[in-house]
């Protein structure tokens, strides 16, 4: 019996605390099943059921690209209609904007924080239009033969749209082998998407920071999905299309929360082993932790100051480059700041956005003008914290009419008022504003602007993920700017902390003083006993 009680006591006294400590320190085992299933699914290569090189109709000597499109549509009879409705062709969508209602907006008519807008510059900008010949307001958006099928479906990687060619390709003597190109027609490769989407803003990685040419060759460390040493996925693996309606819309442009692409579609809303991490997904977008930095290979443009454009050296425009070859200054565009391995800024976002339209008034009392506004806040059930690139700049505006200015930047020849050719602001502004049908007072200045570009690509491997402490920290955490909620580890009640510390210190002092007196008293007693 005695032995039994000792055994029990031993168990209770020694084993139980040990169990508590081991349980407390135990980590759950990795469960890779979901990722393995996804790997299996996306390793299957698409097999085309058609070999276009066997199509006689495609082996002609085409005189112009409209004829090629006609040939495509002779088999794919309904696709033209689909394309005519698509954002890739229309550069405009019907959007519901809170506070504005139904609005027809898109790259066609919006301002951005880079080259400011396409209007009056179509001949150059439409190099990235999935069509042929959009060089002014009279472009025919109803004509299916104006669609460019090849730019997306060429699988040779040799198709090239001409610079300043309003979307027309380089053909003829200097052009690529169109028989090979047409024979290769297939699903868009990342190169196809990238030929436009990597160089938004006028050069590689200028605009987005997370979409650039290095994605075609980089490893998993840059992008876990597209890494060539990993899954090597292509854009359309995620951005799937139904009747040429692509999934995924760019938040910076699209105002309505629909047809978005999300990580959850593959990874589910609760992909982690630890429930505390899964719970984060209620308020934190996957991207926030899984994209610790963007622009991991080449730098991206963070700042663009138009106000310094048109400076000349020896009567001519000039440019200055940094050691990586990025433009720091060019007379046609002004000053730039580039950054690499950029830590995103963060904002609440519920999927809806507003834009500063060309007709909107500029509020000069604000510190800066928001080119777009991402809606969201902590208390909104639909909002999550997302990472974004904030592109800052200085853009011209009309100081009398208080509108942002659409400048004419480009033309085929000098002397027509294009800023990039003539290096003269006044005329470029007059031409641009006349083109969009807006008044210009003749007085302009420059205003600080910000544009918010959500970061969604360049997802890092798990080992690089943002750690708890990078947000749950007193000072300078990643979420320091989002102050409309209480976050453990970051926030505290200063008064309570002060009072609490005082309580602890006083308790400690009290204990020390008490024990000190006890020791003194004991010593005194001992002495008096000795002297007795």
């Amino acid at each position: 019996m005695k032995k039994f009680t000792t055994a029990i006591t031993f168990f209770l006294a020694v084993i139980a605390p040990l169990i508590i400590v081991t349980v407390a320190l135990r980590q759950p085992k990795e469960d890779q099943r979901m990722l393995d299933n996804l790997r299996e699914k996306y390793l299957v290569e698409h097999q085309s059921g058609v070999d276009h090189s066997k199509m006689e109709i495609l082996q002609q000597d085409f005189k112009n690209p409209h004829e090629i499109t006609a040939a495509c549509l002779s088999c794919h009879t309904e696709r033209g209609h689909e394309l005519l409705q698509s954002a890739h062709f229309k550069w405009e969508r019907e959007e519901y904007i809170p506070g504005r209602g139904i609005t027809y907006i898109g790259k066609k008519n919006l301002l951005n924080n880079f080259c400011t807008g396409v209007q009056s510059n179509e001949g150059s900008c439409m190099k990235c239009h999935a069509g042929f010949g959009w060089d002014d307001k009279d472009f025919d958006f109803e004509n299916p033969y104006n669609i460019d099928c090849i730019v997306c479906h060429d699988n040779t990687g040799t198709y090239l749209k001409a610079s300043g060619g309003a979307g027309y390709p380089v053909m003829g003597e200097t052009g690529p082998d169109f028989k090979a190109i047409l024979g290769s027609m297939g699903l868009p490769k990342s190169e196809n998407c990238g030929s436009c989407h990597f160089s938004g803003g006028g050069g590689n990685n200028v605009k987005h920071g997370d979409l650039e040419i290095a994605l075609l060759t980089a490893g998993r460390d840059v992008d876990v999905h597209m890494g060539v040493d990993g899954m090597n996925m292509s854009c359309v693996n995620c951005h799937t299309a139904e009747n040429h309606k692509m999934k995924g819309r760019y938040y910076g442009i699209s105002s309505t929360d629909k047809d978005r692409m999300s990580c959850e579609e593959c990874h589910t809303a609760f992909p982690h082993q630890k429930s505390i991490l899964n719970e984060h997904s209620i308020k934190v977008a996957c991207q926030t932790c899984h994209i610790p930095v963007y622009a991991k290979v080449n730098a991206t443009k963070m700042y663009w100051d138009w106000s310094t454009a048109t400076r000349k050296k020896d009567g001519k425009g000039y440019e200055e480059l940094d050691e990586d070859g990025n433009q720091l200054y060019t007379s046609i565009k002004g000053d730039f700041v580039w950054e690499k391995n950029v830590v995103p800024e963060y904002t609440w976002f519920n999927g809806t956005a507003d834009h500063h339209l060309m007709t909107d008034k500029v509020d000069t009392t604000q510190a800066f003008l928001k080119i777009n506004t991402l809606f969201g806040k902590y208390s909104d059930p639909k909002s999550k914290i997302i990472p974004m690139k904030v592109h800052r700049g200085r853009q011209p505006y009309d100081t009398e009419n208080l509108t942002v200015i659409q400048t004419k930047l480009w033309d085929k020849e000098t002397g027509k008022g294009a800023l990039w050719l003539d290096l003269e602001w006044e005329r470029a502004i007059e031409e641009g504003m006349a083109y969009v049908g807006m008044p210009y007072s003749g007085k302009h200045d420059f205003i600080d602007t910000e544009m918010y570009l959500p970061v969604n690509h360049m997802v890092s491997p798990k080992s690089e993920v943002v750690s708890c402490k990078e947000c749950h920290t007193r000072e300078n955490g990643r979420l320091a700017a989002l102050t409309d909620f209480y976050m453990p580890g970051r926030d505290r009640n200063e008064l309570l902390d002060f009072a609490g510390q005082m309580l602890l210190i006083l308790s400690f002092i009290g204990v020390m003083v008490h024990s000190f007196i006890r020791i003194l008293a004991a010593r005194k007693r001992r002495k008096s006993i000795q002297t007795l």
Binding site: M1, T5, I8, T9, L12, A13, A16, P17, I20, V21, V23, A24, L25, R26, Q27, K274, I276, E279, I282, K283, Y378, S379, D380, P381, K382, S467, C468, K469, H472, T473, R474, F485, Y486, P488, G489, R490, D491, R492, N493, L496, D497, A499, G500, Q501, L503, L504, S507, F508, G510, V511, H514, S515, I517, R518, A521, A522, R525
Partner: protein, 222 residues
């Protein structure tokens, strides 16, 4: 001490409960204040893990302790009394330095002096429940979300965190004073030894004897 006599003061469960509770509170305080960003020790993620698990351990232990207190009637130990309260305060303020005798006799049916009764009762019915409840809300609250279980949605975590942190400071202050008061028993270590072995020298042998038999016979039965 007149007629010191060994008595079995703290039964097996009581000691088990006490030491595991102290371990858990130690872990909870250590990790809790790391979560509070007072220092870095385990790392935030590990601290959260340990805090959450220790919290569950603590809750389970509390359930057992409540059961034990009521089934054994030991809860009566915590009924507050004003009798001797002033004498007890005076003892800690003055008498203890003169090696005056403890004003409250420790017996098996009354192991706690009136000050201990009040403090432990406050801990049991106020501070620990506040910690558990605020801690559980802290665990299970939901940020405003488009979910059906809107009942757990809260507008702000702040008030809960503040209450929880307040309790944490009180618990810590208790621990500091408690650790010191352990040394104020008959000898410096007698209280500690008692909580480890269960046995302590108590006065008044008659009563003790009776009780001891009592306890042992119940132990035998169980």
């Amino acid at each position: 001490m007149k007629n010191p006599k060994k008595a079995y003061v703290y039964k097996g469960f009581e000691r088990f409960w006490h030491w595991n509770q102290s371990l858990l509170i130690f872990l909870l305080a250590l990790t809790g204040f790391e979560i509070h960003s007072s220092y870095t020790f385990f790392g935030f993620e590990t601290a959260v893990d340990i805090h959450n698990k220790a919290a569950w351990g603590f809750i389970i232990l509390i359930v057992f302790a409540i059961f034990w207190h009521f089934t054994t009637g030991e809860w009566r130990q915590y009924i507050p009394t004003t009798k001797n309260l002033q004498a007890q305060v005076e003892f800690y303020l003055f008498g203890i330095f003169r090696k005056a005798p403890h004003p409250t006799k420790k017996t098996l049916i009354s192991k706690l002096n009136p000050l201990q009764r009040i403090v432990y009762l406050g801990l049991k019915i106020l501070i620990i429940p506040v910690m558990v409840v605020s801690g559980l809300i802290y665990m299970f609250y939901r940020y405003p979300q488009g979910d059906e279980i809107a009942i757990t949605n809260i507008e702000s975590l702040e008030i809960i965190a503040v209450i929880h942190t307040f309790g944490a400071f009180v618990v810590l202050a208790f621990v500091i004073v408690h650790l010191y008061l352990i040394t104020t028993g008959h000898t410096i270590t007698s209280n500690l030894k008692a909580m480890i072995t269960g046995w302590e020298d108590l006065e008044e042998e008659d009563e003790v004897d009776e009780k001891k038999d009592d306890v042992e016979s119940t132990n035998q039965k169980s």
